[in-house]
């Protein structure tokens, strides 16, 4: 007991996070090997306990399994060190004091800013709304060439399909916050830049969702309308679109909901609205005002979430 009190506890409290370097890498590998050997010794029983599967089936699978166990251990140990996880700092007196100060300020909001905050919130909501409205017709048009079943097996059609899909994937992989930085340089800081950023991301996302819905439609009506001698446009319009209208509407409403959240974040980097206001007050360390803004954002996002899910449910 004396050992625990005098040596282990104080040294744990004084311990510093281990820097990522040769020593820590060595430790990670050693620890992972030890853990793997431990697993081997106990017939991989720990792993079986975890995955609930009888994986020890043949030497190849056993090997794969132990290597997997080794890799998982190494990733967790390595991740711990690389991300500087430090319970000591989390629970340090100074840190807790700072957190208490901020939380205290946030929980005693300064409602003088509510007028300014509300008008900024309106800007954010409409940034998201306009981005959605502008993106919808473009996404609608793009979703047909991005749908496999519409494009058929022809070489030219397939090329268009793959190029468009790849292009959309790249557009979607670039976060709107990056587009916001680009556009705030292009058209100047403000809601217009934020809206343009959201338009790009919304087109990429909605086109993907729309086209997947198109790929999911029942083939029966397509056959039936084609059999009347209808042309390709007529088949799209009469056999495919009626099956997609309601899901499209549902995706669109949900996208507006997501866009309001994104518009807030985009405001941090110059996209206007409530996000920009929040960074301003945060920069001035006026946490009582920041508290007001956070409460407002939370309330609006929550309300939109409820409304959009109600509407989407009613549409089903």
């Amino acid at each position: 007991m004396a050992l625990l009190e005098r040596i282990v506890v104080p040294s744990l409290l004084d311990a510093q996070p281990l820097a990522f370097g040769p020593i820590s890498i060595g430790l990670i590998i050693a620890g992972s090997i030890a853990w793997m050997l431990f697993g081997l010794l106990y017939g991989a029983s720990l792993g079986k306990l975890y995955v609930g599967l009888d994986v020890a089936d043949g030497p190849a699978r056993t090997l794969t399994y132990h290597l997997g166990w080794f890799a998982l251990t190494a990733f967790i140990l390595g991740g711990w060190i690389i991300t500087d996880i430090s319970p000591i700092e989390f629970f340090s007196g100074q840190g807790l004091q700072g957190a208490g100060r901020i939380f205290g300020a946030l929980l005693t909001p300064e409602f003088d800013v509510i007028g300014e905050a509300l008008s900024a919130m309106v800007v954010t909501i409409f940034t998201a709304f306009m981005a959605t409205v502008i993106a919808v017709p473009l996404s609608f048009l793009l979703s047909f060439p991005a749908a496999r079943n519409v494009m058929g097996r022809g070489v030219a059609a397939r090329t268009v399909y793959y190029v468009l899909r790849a292009f959309l994937n790249i557009m979607r992989s670039m976060e709107p916050i990056i587009w916001a930085i680009v556009f705030s340089v292009w058209v100047g800081i403000g809601p217009f830049a934020g809206m343009l950023a959201l338009v790009i991301h919304t087109i990429a996302s909605l086109t993907k969702q729309y086209s997947e819905q198109i790929e999911d439609v029942d083939d029966g009506p397509i056959e039936a309308i084609s059999a009347t001698g209808a042309g390709r446009l007529q088949v799209l319009w009469f056999a495919i679109v009626p099956q997609c209208v309601i899901p499209f509407l549902s995706f669109t409403i949900y996208r507006w909901d997501i866009n309001v959240r994104m518009a807030t974040i985009i405001g941090f980097v110059g996209g206007g609205g409530i996000g920009t206001l929040l960074t301003q007050y945060q920069g001035l360390a006026r946490y009582h005002e920041v508290g007001t803004l956070i409460i407002l954002i939370t309330a609006v996002v929550w309300m939109l979430d409820v409304v959009s899910s109600r509407v989407r449910q009613a549409l089903r």
Binding site: I225, G229, Q234, Q243, V245
Partner: protein, 254 residues
């Protein structure tokens, strides 16, 4: 000269499955031809090759004295517009009303843009209402198609085919998802457009009792080949075993 003439028709799916292995037959105007055979014997593929919903991989098709094996574009659309089609699952546009569904039978003979704006002519609307009257479902004209029962939906589908003023109607197992009583009602409407209007019908069926009642001639397919071509009454117990295999037992639909 026959209305439809099929010569050595073959079809192979992209995965290499030979669904039709050289089919030849003629159909005279006014016939009620029934195609029977096990599931997977090629019946549905055969029907879809006739209006080129499925592209045959070989052989030739002649309809109404013209070769339609390789036509494309407007000629293909015109060919399809002359042939009405009825499906097992009705394939109506569920969210649209019954009258509109019937009007869609005229899509093949309507200009693209005006049809997409649903600008149908007074004459077309009159004919759609007339087609609905023929299948006895006029009172449902303004009801959403997906609210109708299966039998009613199939009658709307027949009205849509009639809207095309077709020379030939293809029916792909039109009663396979209906109960026996409704089946007879739907078959009766097909029989009526055959006898009263003189429209040629080619129909895929499963039940021999229906075949004997409605067919004027029968073709049986087995693994993509024609194994029987004759009168319904000629299908003896022996033929039945040849077509459906030794284990098969006939099921009666009254």
């Amino acid at each position: 000269m026959a209305l439809l003439s099929v010569r050595n028709l073959t079809h192979t799916y992209p995965n290499g499955f030979h669904s039709l292995k050289g089919i030849s037959f003629d159909v005279e105007a006014g016939e009620f031809l029934v195609v029977i055979g096990l599931s997977g014997s090629g019946k549905s593929t055969l029907l879809r090759c006739l209006n080129r919903l499925i592209e045959p991989t070989g052989g030739s098709l002649s309809f109404n004295n013209s070769d339609v094996s390789h036509i494309t574009g407007d000629a293909l659309r015109a060919h399809r517009a002359e042939i009405g089609m009825v499906f097992q699952h009705f394939n109506l546009i569920g969210r649209h009303n019954v009258l509109n569904n019937v009007l869609y039978g005229a899509l093949g003979s309507s200009p693209t843009i005006s049809s997409m704006l649903r600008r149908f002519t007074v004459e077309q609307i009159r004919r759609a209402n007339e087609a609905l009257r023929v299948v006895g479902i006029s009172e449902k004209a303004n009801v959403r198609a997906d609210t109708l029962s299966g039998g009613q939906q199939q009658r709307v589908a027949i009205a849509r085919a009639l809207m095309q003023d077709p020379k030939l109607v293809l029916a792909d197992e039109p009663v396979a998802s209906l109960d026996p009583a409704t089946s007879h009602s739907v078959m009766t409407y097909l029989e009526r457009i055959n006898t009263d209007m003189g429209t040629t019908v080619i129909c895929n069926l499963h039940f021999l009792s229906l075949v004997r009642q409605y067919a004027s001639r029968v073709i049986a397919l087995k693994s993509g080949e024609i194994v029987f071509n004759g009168q319904p009454l000629e299908i003896t117990e022996e033929w039945f075993r040849t077509i459906y295999g030794d284990e098969a037992v006939e099921v009666e639909v009254r």
